[in-house]
Every structure is written in C-alpha cells, then in structure tokens.
C-alpha cells in the first residue's frame, strides 16, 4: 500500500515550482514529518516534510519543474526496501522536465508518476480547452482527485489570466551595490553540464530564483522613475540608549535590542507623516495604506529575500526584534512560507552589515520607496563650531518620483534622521 508524496500547496497564487533537491535518497526509510525534498518557488525555497513514514521511492528527479499537487514520490510500507520499486530516475536530463515523460516508454510494467502532464492524461473536456486555447497544462493548478485538472480548474485559470493586469508583487530584489554577497549557489546547483566554451570561460545556467530576481529588478526599473536621496544620521543617542538598556531589555524580553527596530519604528512614524511613501500606484490610481507592513531584507545563500513584518504600528520594539530574528533564522533554514514574503508596503535594507558605506537600493514593486541603512563609521563632524568624533550612518531613500516629490522624499528621510538622533521623539510621537 504505497502512499503518494505530492507537491504541497504553498500559497494562493503559486501553481508550480522546481523540485530543487532531494534531501533523502531513493530507498531511504523516512519518518513522518522528516524533510525529504526542497521546493523552490519564485517566492521562496522551502523544505517539504514527508506525509508519512515509509521507504522513499522517488519518481521525479531533482531540478524538475513540478506542479502543485503533482506526485513526486511514493512511500512504501515496510522496513526493508522492497525489490520491485516504482522509482524512475531520469538520468539523462535534469533540465527537461515537462511533458514528455510517458513518451519514452518508461511506462513498461508499472504505472509510473509522469513528469508534468501530457494530453493523454487529461480529462476530455480539459484536453479540448487546453488545445483550443493553447494552454500549458503544467501551469494549471489541479483540484480534482489526486490533483487532476478539472474543467473548472482550466476555466478558473483562464479567467484569472484574463483579469490580471498588475504584475504580482515580487518579494525578491537586490541592491545595485555589489557589496551584497553574490550567490555562488547558481554555479553549484545546475545539473546540466556546462557547455565547453572558450578556454578560461565557464557557462552556467541561471537558477530559477536568480532568473526571477533578474526579471523583477528590470521590471522595477522600467516601470518606475527612481531617484535616491541621502542623509546622514548621528547614531550616538541610539547607541547610548542601547548600551544603557541592552541587558535589561534582553532580560525582560528574551531578545537582543538591535538597531533595526529603531529604524523600523522611525520609518513607521515617518510613513504616517508622508503617506505617499507607503502607497502604491495602480494604473491611474494611488492606493494608500492605513497600516505599515515593513519588509526587512535578509540575505540567504540563494539571494536576497524580504520577509514582511506586518502592522508595525501596533508592535513594540521587542516584538519587532523577535520577528527579525525569527525571519533571519528561518530564511537560512528555508522555512519561510511565501505568504510571509508578501504584502509589504515599505522595505528597509541594510547594506551596512556587508560594509557598504553608501548605496542606491531599488524599491520592491509595487512599493514606492525603500530605505537603505549602511555601516556606522566614526567621523569627524562639526558641532557648535567644534570638531567632534561621532558614529555616523549614511542613509538612503530610493523613491518612485511618480508618486513622491523630492520635497516629500527628503522630508521623510529627514524625519527618520531626526527620530533616530533623538529617540525620545519617537516616544512622544513628535
């Protein structure tokens, strides 16, 4: 009695992804809940646990594009691996994964999970709709028995495609500053052999993740009119505050007091003074938000992702710090869900952790602005006619000039600076 392992549903708008890596081998005995493969979508990568215990029989190889609900393996009962398994390893190609699985005669004796969906496996009405409308069945989410595509699924997909006008919010972006660690992941994960090009050259296909990042960045740039304005922040007050209360904060709230929570709170207050920075352009409308969902950029080995802290206006410093730490940890463990990466209205990125002094970050469409934090340097500054040494951070606000004028952008950044330089103002909401 084999149980099927299917690609789980990971978010409303997601219908497919890549089965990136198998964390277990064919024939391994796995426990229920043990993570057995990594699913990569264009929002995030996550490790998928096994639905039950059993001997793993892999039917879809790694680096294959899969649909939500697709069977990728079977779990057989028993302690010892059974002789007649149904595992099929496509040793030839890791890249081609679409429709042709059944055609190369692998279906000899036992029914094998077919990679992708081919016309023969579709219900008659689905076949008709798919061929009449030139649709790709692999891109349609199936809600029928065992994940089959029903006529209703096709009709829904067609309707959704027809009514879609805005590009979906991407949570993946990168700074233009090359100080962010460039992921070497792309090179190691590709299964296809590199074509032998010229000597001294190495050609490596982009990972899906990287492709999506690239696409989104270009879209972001082409769709908006971005400008960056700068300012500098004297961090001495915040640093003194931290030093004074750090231990007590950690004792009471069980989490360290970082800088990020100050910037997030300051941004939230500044956003309420300059609501355009928290708004989106939608066609010819401007959509304002009564809430602040602030994304915090986190670097992972695959690239930059931006988990979102929701409703910052109702969170305290401890809550914010906790969420940041949780996001960071889970991002590294690839346990963030796509829902956590969506819904942001504003983003903060910190290139300072990598040593960046100054940069021009790119806003995350459809957001209109992004705040960049940088490294803190002791600098000589003039104060009351004297030269003093202060810890200075340069801050940058890249904004969409279609919705924010220079005056507002500068005003926003100045407000953030003022609040950070005198944290009591945040307390008094001044």
């Amino acid at each position: 009695m084999a149980q099927e392992v299917t690609v789980p549903s990971v978010g409303e708008s997601i219908s497919n992804g890549i089965l990136a890596t198998w964390l277990k081998q064919d024939g391994d005995l796995v426990a229920q809940g043990e993570e057995i493969f990594e699913l990569e979508t264009d929002k995030a990568t996550m490790a998928v646990p096994s639905p039950a215990a059993g001997i793993l029989r892999i039917t879809i190889p790694a680096e294959t594009e899969v649909s939500i609900g697709q069977v990728v393996a079977r779990l057989e009962e028993g302690k010892a691996p059974a002789a007649a398994g149904s595992s099929v390893r496509d040793a030839n190609s890791g890249a081609e994964s679409k429709a042709n699985g059944a055609n190369d005669g692998k279906r000899a004796a036992e029914p094998v999970a077919v990679e992708g969906r081919i016309l023969d496996d579709l219900a008659p009405a689905v076949r008709r709709l798919v061929s009449e409308n030139r649709l790709d069945p692999a891109s349609i989410k199936g809600t029928g028995k065992d994940g089959r595509i029903t006529k209703e699924d096709v009709l829904s997909a067609m309707q959704a495609a027809a009514s879609q006008t805005i590009p979906t919010q991407s949570s993946v972006r990168g700074t233009a500053d090359s100080a962010t660690a460039s992921p070497p992941a792309g090179a190691t994960r590709s299964a296809s052999t590199a074509a032998a090009g010229k000597a001294g050259e190495r050609r490596v296909p982009m990972t899906n993740f990287r492709k999506r990042i690239a696409e989104n960045l270009v879209n972001a740039k082409q769709g908006a009119a971005h400008l960056t304005t700068f300012n500098e922040v004297d961090m001495s007050e915040v640093m003194a505050l931290r030093k004074k209360y750090r231990d007590e904060f950690e004792k009471k709230h069980g989490v360290r007091l970082g800088f990020m929570s100050f910037f997030i709170k300051a941004s939230e207050l500044a956003l309420s003074d300059f609501p355009e920075a928290n708004a989106f352009i939608d066609g010819t409308d401007i959509v304002y938000h009564d809430y602040c969902n602030i994304g915090v950029a986190v670097s992972t080995e695959r690239g930059l992702i931006t988990p979102v802290i929701r409703n910052v206006e109702s969170l305290g410093f401890a809550d914010i710090e906790r969420q940041i730490i949780s996001f960071g940890k889970r991002a590294q463990e690839k346990r963030l869900s796509p829902d956590e990466l969506m819904g942001g209205t504003f983003t903060i990125t910190n290139g300072g952790v990598f040593g960046s002094m100054l940069s021009t970050p790119i806003p995350n469409p459809p957001q209109s602005a992004i705040l960049g934090m940088h490294s803190i340097q002791d600098r000589p500054v003039a104060l009351d006619g004297q030269v003093v040494i202060r810890p200075i951070m340069y801050v940058a606000l890249t904004y969409d000039h279609r919705i924010l004028d220079g005056r507002e952008a500068i005003g926003f950044l100045k407000k953030v600076k003022t609040l950070i330089e005198d944290p009591a103002l945040m307390l008094l909401n001044l």
Binding site: A123, P124, A125, K151, E152
Partner: protein, 472 residues
C-alpha cells in the same frame, strides 16, 4: 465459566457493514471476531432484504413477461401457471448461496464467528449470550457496532405477523394475496408491491408524502409512478392511514384519509407497512456506557472516524447517520477499519447511489433539482429518453430517461437521475464521473459502445450543452 478470548477487533453484526469490516480488518493483519445474533451470517441484506427481494423481483418479472409479453416475439406457450413454493425455494437457494459464501469468507480470513446476542459490557469488553443462556466474554482492542436496522412499526397498526406485516413476512407469503395494501411508497414498498402485482395481487399504496420515493428528484418519481400505474398498481398520495378494519371473511379494509379529508378504503387481505427503518441499537448496552444517540432518530452519534462518544467503540451502517444502504455500510466498514489501523480511510458521501429495483428501475446519485434550487446553486440540465435509444427499443424497454445536472459555470456534474432499464448498473458511470469531479462535457466526449443503454447517458451529457445528436 466465562471464557475470555482476546481480539484486536470485535464486530457486533454480520450484515454488509459488519462482515466487510471484518474481512478488511483481517487483511490488515488484525485478529478479528464477529458476533451474529442469529445465523446465517449476512444480516438483513442477505437474509431478509436486498438479496431475497431481488430474487423475487427477477422471478416475478419472468412470470409476468412470460404470461403477457411473449406473443409479440412470436413465442407461444400454454397457460402460464405459478408454483409459489418453488419460487420461494429458489429464493432461499439464492440466499443460501450468498450466506454460505460469507461463511466461507470468514473462514478464509480466519475470522472467528460467535453466535449469540452481543452487547458491550465495558470499554473493550463484549459479552455474547447464546440461545442456551451461556455467555462468552470477549476482550477487544476495538469494538465496531454494526447491528443494522429494523422496520418501523406504526403504533396504531402494529405488526401481527399474519395480516399486518413488515417486509420480512412480505418476502415469504405462502400464497399470493388477492389484495395487498402497502403503507409507504419508498423503495421497499415499491419493490415488494411490484413483486406481488406481477404475481397477481391487486396492489394499492397509501403514502403520506405528495410523491413516491419522497426526497428523490421529483421528475424521476413522477415518471416512475406513471409507469407503475400502467402496470396496474394504485396510488393514494398525500394520504394518511387512519386504521384497519378486520372483516368477517378474513380480509380487512385499510382506512385512510386523503389530502382534502376524503375517506379512502382499501380492501386488503394483507397490509405491508413499509414506512421506514430505525436503528437496531437496543440491548447493546449503550445506555450503561452513555453512548450518545440522536434523540429523534435513535441513530448512534459518531465522529468522522466512526467513533462513538466512548473511545474504542465505533458504529457504522444503518446505526449511524446517512442513507440506510448496504453499500454505504460496506464502505463505512472498510473506512472505519482503515482508520483504526492508522491508514487512510474515507467515504465520499456525495456520491452514494440509490437504486429502486422496480421495472423500469430507478437510480440516482448526487443532488436533485429541488435541492440545488433550494441552495441557489446555478445549474444546467440535460435529459435524454430511452424511447429513441436503439438498444432500448430492441429490448422493448423504452420507458424512462437519463437526466444530468451540471453546474452552470464549471459544468461539474452535480447529480444524475435515471428511470429506465438497468438504471442500477447505468448509474455507475455517473458515480465514477462524480468521484473524479468530471464535467458533463467529459462524459459527452467519452466513447460509449453502440448499441447500448449507456448511450442515453452520453446523449444526456451532450444535452446539457444543448447539443444532443439524436434529438433536437
């Protein structure tokens, strides 16, 4: 004296729910015992329900066709006579074949059979009392109650086993009654009425609701009642039984009142009361263990794992919610055992078919038009009659139609209703289609052999889209 045998699973009741659950449990490696109050095994279905009634329906149909319909085929016989005793013997042989089959299955699967009245004495404990008064105590890891149902008795028209009878006696009359009154025009009443009507009785129905087969799609029940009337049966619908008058000559008169208060009198040598069945849960020890039952219906309350309010004690079949059908009990028997074993077990209640074995037969699965309208679910319908189907015409079975209801927007099949020849088998196509969430178009685009009755289903599917081939 009390012997304690230990089992993984003890099942009380050996009807379709019980014996199938026992076999499934044995397949999954459990040590199983089954308790049956009165052998042979097989419960109501095999002994006094589904099987004997089908045997008599087929026998009586043969008799009626031989007597009335062979001439058209150019076949002539002498006078056609009936030997009811032989017919009943054949029925008994059919039953015996199946009940001994169940017995063999129990042996094959090493399931221990205990004859006697089973009751739950404590969690994990079943006591079996045999006819001599001796008891055997069984220790059970799990207990499944599968004791089925019994006919509902009317308080003012109680069964006396001779004149006022239930389906059990109506399956075993020793002579064909001259007049037969049937209270209740549900599946059981209609089937038994058909048997005796064919064998020569004058059959009259008194039904409380405005249509036969209350709850079924009304177009279906209207079509069927028309056909049954053609066969000579009479129907008083929306009528309430008020009493029964015994007469000097042994025959009685069933008294009833019509919709407008008019008095109805039905001459009745026998009265079959077939107004429904109720769960047979007395004597199981439920009260002492506080196993919850629904106050109104008497059904045992279970969760989605078929577990009663006492952990470790389960109930299936006619004892619990849902249609009182053998196949539903069987599937629940399988699912409950699979869930106990910790693997996947599931009953899809949305696609349980219902069948009536009159001729023409009637079968249904899914939603009726009335229930869709009541919930405001938009739907389209496609119908096609058997009257222009080649096979049906060749068979001389042209009454009836197939009707398919599909969602207005998604075309998903929501319900299928059939009156016609072999509706009982034709409905399977609809059940499979609905289990796979198919659309009417899927059925319409599937090849159906020619010439078969199933083509009517295909044309009905085409008709949902307004494009049946063989009609406008």
């Amino acid at each position: 004296m009390a012997d304690i045998s230990k089992f993984d699973l003890v099942i009380i009741g050996s009807g379709p729910g019980g014996y199938v659950a026992a076999i499934r449990a044995a397949q999954l490696g459990m040590n199983v015992a089954i308790v049956e109050r009165s052998l042979p095994l097989g419960g109501t279905c095999l002994n006094i329900g589904c099987i004997p009634s089908k045997a008599l329906l087929d026998s009586s149909e043969l008799f009626q066709k031989t007597r009335d319909e062979l001439g058209a085929h150019g076949i002539s016989t002498g006078k056609v006579t009936l030997d009811l005793g032989t017919m009943m013997k054949r029925k008994a042989a059919v039953v015996e074949k199946l009940t001994s089959g169940v017995s063999s299955l129990m042996k094959l699967n090493k399931i221990q059979v205990f004859e006697g009245t089973g009751s739950v004495t404590a969690t994990g404990r079943v006591s079996v009392k045999d006819s001599t008064g001796g008891t055997v105590d069984l220790a059970a890891g799990h207990i499944i109650l599968a004791t089925g149902s019994v006919p509902v008795e009317l308080p003012f028209l109680k069964y006396d086993g001779k004149t006022v009878v239930s389906s059990t006696e109506a399956l075993a009359f020793d002579k064909v009654p001259e007049t037969l009154a049937i209270v209740g025009a549900g599946a059981i009443g209609l089937e038994l009425g058909s048997v005796w009507n064919r064998l020569g009785s004058k059959v009259t129905f008194v039904e409380l609701m405005p249509s036969i087969l209350p709850g079924w799609d009304t177009q279906l029940s209207k079509t069927l009642v028309r056909e049954l009337k053609k066969q000579g049966m009479e129907f008083h619908l929306s009528a309430r039984v008020t009493g029964f008058e015994k007469q000097a000559k042994g025959n009685g008169i069933l008294l009833a009142e019509g919709e407008k208060g008019e008095k109805i009198q039905v001459p009745a040598e026998k009265v079959l009361v077939a107004v429904g069945r109720r769960p047979s849960s007395d004597g199981l020890g439920l009260e002492a263990l506080s196993i919850h039952r629904d106050d109104r219906s008497g059904r045992i309350v279970v969760n989605e794992r078929y577990e009663t309010s006492v952990p470790g004690i389960y109930a299936i079949g006619d004892l619990i919610h849902g249609p009182m059908l053998a196949h539903k009990a069987e599937d629940e028997g399988i699912a409950s055992v699979e869930l106990i074993a910790g693997i996947h077990g599931h009953v899809n209640y949305g696609v349980i078919p219902g069948v009536v074995y009159t001729w023409p037969e009637a079968a249904t699965v899914g939603r009726s038009e009335e229930s869709l309208k009541a919930e405001g679910i938009p739907y389209r319908k496609g119908s096609f009659p058997f009257g222009i189907n080649g096979r049906a015409i060749a068979m001389d079975a042209t009454a009836g139609f197939v009707k398919i209801l599909a969602h207005e927007r998604t075309d998903r099949i929501l319900g299928v209703h059939i009156v016609g020849p072999w509706a009982s088998d034709l409905i399977s196509e609809a059940v499979i289609a609905m289990e796979f969430s198919a659309s009417a178009e899927d059925l319409a685009r599937t090849v159906h052999a020619h010439p078969t009755l199933s083509e009517v289903t295909r044309e009905a599917a085409l008709a949902v889209d307004g494009r049946a081939i063989h009609s406008k």
